[in-house]
Amino acid sequence: MLGNMMEAFRMTIDMYRKFSGVGMVTVFFLAALGYLWFWEKDKGIRMILVYLVTAVLVLFFFPVFSYLAIYHFLDQEVYYRFLWLMPMGVIVCYVIVRIFEQFESGKKRVLFSIVCGVMLMLQGSFIYSNPAVKRAENAYHLPQSVIDTADILHVEGDWVKAVVPSEMVQFIRQYDPKIMMPYGRDMLVESWDVQGGNREMYEAMEADIIHAQYLVLLCQQERVDYIVARKSSQIGGSFEEWGFMKIASLEEYDIYMDKHSKFYDQKREELGLD
């Protein structure tokens, strides 16, 4: 148990470092907390913003608590959320305003505010400059290619099953939950145990060269209706040779359908295919 506690403490330190990231958020917070320890006179605010917050901070690092939390009622993946119990922004901004109030000159107040505002900006990272934050392509905030693909796969009033490339896996069912998949996002996260997804099929789809016969065999075992393949993928053989016929071609993807699928004729008619 002592060993586990030390391990939990080590994880806690690591988590705190990751939480602090590239900015000085935690440094500003600790400085503000220190300021309040020495200078906050309002007893009520001391109780909540000083003593309570310090207690949370101490508890976060306390090995017995972190051991119990990580191994018993929370887990290692989410223990960092305990730091959210400390309202860091409130404390830092409160201290800034209290120091601001101590300047009597209006000019000094303005200068101090500008300096603090700039420091807050420089120490952090602007959320909208994050490259993962982009202009939305549509109201669903999903890649348009996923929506276009799902619209073709969709069969009104019924469930279908499709094998899709990895970049689509986490989006398809957000748009159309009636499209089932033999594997999901669990394939993309290395640290997860496979929860029931078909890893063999995923690896066949993501191989450098997709062996058409092999993939079709796996699909037929799982009664998959569609294969959505990247146009850029190298395919060994052809899906048509093994019973999956091309029914649509999008900008980046080709969609193949099992000719033995009960929806095959209906889909061909719907898409206006001969």
Binding site: V56, Y128, L142, G196
Partner: protein, 346 residues
């Protein structure tokens, strides 16, 4: 489309406002303002949903039946607020809009703060962040909206599964599915386009209430505090783990709601306690907050009572009132029930 949008606007603004009138009627006079009404309304709606939906989920009943019952509960909350709290609206209005009594500098700062918040809300509609966890949470909303089971289908594959205990006790996705079922708007659009901006507004409303308590002696500095807080949030993307990052990239997910709505609410309520501003309304909302913590995330089931217990110990010593511990313990009853249920089902 217009009718759908009007219904949505009603559900996201009018309904919480009207539902919030009842608890605020029984609050301390200093807390009677429009922001508190809106905040309390959401707490009422979330808590009612949590109390109602969990038995349905655990018993593996249909979502349609649960949704109908919640429609009724929501109407009761709205009517109760309207009938018993309508007289308070004028008082709340007056307490909120005191612009004509403010200095010019404060008015300018308030304008800047409001513009910043509105810009963030608009940006939340037109900017996207493709988060991997949406493959779980948003897919659960979408599949619940289009089907009838709750947490009985694997959101990654669509296959039937045993009850997903880890997530079932924190049914934010089901709440979003309920809004979708009522308005006819796709749950994914709701999550990404509408829930995000509204909850950002709710978050800043909460911080506004905190600011009122912190700067009771100098209310003219409230907008300055909120301006710095806006900057703090906008530049808080220092890692994937900060609550500030979650606020913009995962607003519609329960865990983001916990860090950016529940935690500020807990801090606000502790400020009420320390200032002896707790009346019947505030105590009821603290009890509701315990349920809301569980509603947002399973970690909330444990973190709420831990936080409240620590606060209770500190405040009991400071105020020399042991009864605070018992009052706080009573407010943690929902956490206790959901915690036992979580461990039992797991």
């Amino acid at each position: 489309m217009i009718i759908q949008m009007l219904m949505l606007a009603g559900l996201l603004f009018l309904v919480p406002f009207l539902a919030g009138l009842l608890p605020v009627r029984f609050m301390d006079d200093r807390h009677k303002n429009l922001g508190m009404v809106y905040v309390s309304g959401w707490l009422v709606l979330f808590a009612l949903f949590q109390f109602m939906i969990i038995p349905f989920i655990v018993a593996q009943k249909d979502f349609a039946d649960a949704a109908k019952l919640y429609n009724v509960l929501m109407l009761i909350a709205v009517l109760a607020g309207l009938l018993l709290g309508a007289k308070m609206i004028k008082e709340c209005f007056v307490n909120t809009f005191r612009f004509k009594f403010m200095e010019r500098g404060s008015r300018i700062l308030w304008s800047v703060v409001i513009v910043l918040i509105v810009l963030q809300m608009v940006t939340a509609v037109f900017m996207q962040y493709l988060d991997g966890d949406d493959a779980l949470y948003v897919a659960i909303s979408a599949q619940t909206q289009s089907g009838d089971g709750m947490y009985l289908k694997n959101p990654y594959y669509g296959y039937a599964q045993e009850l997903d205990v880890r997530h079932a006790l924190s049914p934010v996705p089901i709440f979003i599915a309920w809004i979708g079922r009522l308005t006819g708007i796709h749950a994914t659009i709701l999550s990404h386009c509408f829930i995000g901006p509204v909850f950002l507004l709710l978050m800043y409303a909460l911080y506004g209430q905190i600011a009122k308590r912190l700067f009771e002696d100098r209310p003219q500095n409230i907008p300055l505090f909120l301006l710095f807080l806006n900057i703090w949030y906008l530049f808080g993307n220092v890692s994937l783990y900060t609550a500030e990052t979650f606020a913009y990239t995962r607003t519609w997910q329960g865990k983001a709601m916990f860090g950016n709505l529940v935690v500020p609410a807990m801090v606000l309520w502790m400020l009420f306690v320390v200032r002896d501003e707790m009346r019947c309304g505030e105590w009821c909302m603290l009890f509701a907050l315990s349920a809301v913590a569980a509603f947002t995330t399973s970690t909330g089931i444990f973190m709420f009572p831990i936080f409240v217990a620590m606060a209770g110990l500190i405040l009991a010593v400071y105020k020399k009132k042991l009864v605070i511990l018992f009052e706080f313990a009573a407010c943690c009853i929902p956490s206790l029930v959901y915690g036992i249920l979580y461990l039992f089902l797991k």
